[in-house]
């Protein structure tokens, strides 16, 4: 059955599967099919609007919705794949378009994230940094994005090696804590050794400090991947794909079956959300 949806999607989005790109100018049909914004991705995924952006009246049509959802996949994931490897897509469609509990994506959902890979300048030198952003709504229902986590090698305060010999002497008070000077000069790289055992570094603090003191600037965002964790049993990612095809724009670039426990691990390992 899932092959039917794949074929349907190919038919919907590729009346002419011939290669087309922006260089062909304003081919309006081509531009209609392109998923131009994440907003448009969500509206098609939810089966709210059709390809032309018109509201869909028959929103409960499960079969058509499945066709739309499949059409939002990067075809590379689907074409020339074995039946077994396509099985997860079928399960995903069933989970999303479940007539009893359909899943709709919403801007206000608390379990989707934007991962932005940034080129940054640290003290004048170019390097890389990854930001994880999430939408937030305040008490007055105002919306905005917030920085949930940040990751870069240079933000880590952890020393390369754990060294038990690094501590402030138990009698340091009798010496007026004179070793503090040595710790903050010769032992700078090991500074977290001098914090309590339960000390947790939130790299955002380091990031914000570097920004505030003018040592760090974000030059530009090189790549954005959106991670959606809303569908029971799955995580999927969406990113911008540009190539010689009608299947371009913001598309599902990866689909991972994930249990609740795996989602928790994913949040911590991939999205660094333990910060």
């Amino acid at each position: 059955m899932y092959k039917f949806y794949i074929l349907l999607a190919i038919w919907v989005f590729s009346n002419s599967i011939f290669a087309q790109t922006l260089k062909d100018g304003f081919n309006e049909e081509f531009l209609k099919m392109r998923v131009k914004q994440l907003d448009e991705f969500v509206k098609r995924f939810n089966y709210e609007t059709d390809i032309e952006g018109n509201p869909i009246a028959d929103r409960n049509n499960v079969q058509k919705r499945k066709g739309y959802i499949i059409s939002l996949f990067d075809y590379e994931l689907l074409i020339n794949k074995s039946n077994d490897s396509l099985q997860k897509y079928n399960q995903f469609l069933d989970a999303v378009a479940n007539p009893n509990a359909p899943v709709f994506l919403n801007y206000h959902d608390s379990n989707w994230y934007a991962v932005a890979d940034c080129k940054v300048k640290l003290n004048g030198k170019l390097t890389k940094l990854r930001l994880v952003l999430q939408t937030e709504k305040d008490k007055k229902q105002n919306k905005h994005w917030v920085i949930r986590s940040v990751r870069a090698d240079f933000l880590s305060l952890q020393p390369k090696k754990v060294d038990d010999s690094k501590f402030i002497s138990p009698v340091s008070h009798e010496l007026n804590f004179m070793d503090l000077h040595k710790i903050t000069t010769e032992e700078r790289a090991n500074i977290v050794h001098y914090a309590p055992e339960d000390f947790q570094v939130d790299e955002r603090n380091v990031f914000f400090y570097l920004i505030k003191t003018g040592q760090l600037q974000i030059e530009h965002v090189e790549r954005i991947v959106y991670h959606f964790l809303q569908v029971p049993g799955f995580i999927f990612t969406v990113q911008h794909i540009e190539r010689d095809s009608n299947n371009v724009g913001w598309l599902t670039s990866n689909l991972m079956p994930q249990t609740l426990t795996q989602k928790k691990t994913y949040k911590s390992s991939v999205l660094s959300l333990n910060q």
Partner: protein, 202 residues
């Protein structure tokens, strides 16, 4: 002193006569579906005008005073009359877009070496949902496709020197204002413009 007073009074009278904005209202005014539809239409018209003005500003064959007039008209379309508005510019020759303050971008466009500049916009575009960002303040974005072509002139003939098609995303500001006599109305303005997917066009 008298001159100053007369001048101040004149300003007040002029503002009153035209029902000009004096404040942002305190209470929340909900947006209706009709409002949103109208905002989308207004934003679409403003983006069309913006593209038309850019063609005029970029053309060598337009007199300077005409270009200055349309540069001012362009700034009027933007939030804070273009102050602190950033315009990203891309080229098929560069990997990453370059950012300019809007005013600088317009000056650079006016000084381009092309005899004629054609900036066209595709009929297809997408305007996102409107997101509340404050009391009676909303933001959205519009994605458009723009074709930019620059021509040199040889006698009576124009020869295409450069042409690209670019996807641009334009931030849209919507906010409510109130006139001196309590009349409330919505303002739509354009904001920062980002660029993506620049490809050569033929």
């Amino acid at each position: 002193m008298n001159t100053k007073l007369i001048f101040s009074l004149l300003i007040i009278v002029l503002l009153s006569a035209h029902g000009r904005v004096i404040a942002q209202p305190d209470e929340e005014v909900p947006l209706t579906d009709d409002d949103i539809k109208q905002f989308k239409e207004r934003a679409g018209v403003m983006i069309d005008s913006f593209q038309d003005y850019l063609s005029i500003i970029g053309s060598k064959e337009r007199p300077k005073e005409v270009k200055v007039y349309y540069a001012d008209e362009t700034l009027e379309l933007f939030i804070r009359k273009g102050e602190r508005v950033t315009m990203e510019v891309s080229s098929t020759r560069r990997t990453y877009p370059t950012r300019y303050p809007l005013k600088t971008y317009l000056q650079r466009l006016a000084n381009l070496r092309y005899a004629k500049v054609e900036i066209k916009q595709a009929g297809i575009y997408h305007i996102s949902n409107f997101y509340k960002v404050g009391e009676n303040k909303y933001r959205a974005v519009a994605s458009i496709f723009q074709q930019f072509c620059g021509y040199s002139r040889y006698g009576d003939r124009y020869v295409k020197r450069y042409c690209d098609v670019t996807k641009k995303t334009i931030e849209i500001y919507i906010y409510l204002m109130e006139t001196w006599n309590g009349e409330k109305y919505w303002i739509v303005k354009l904001g920062d413009i980002s660029v993506a997917d620049t490809t050569p066009a033929y």
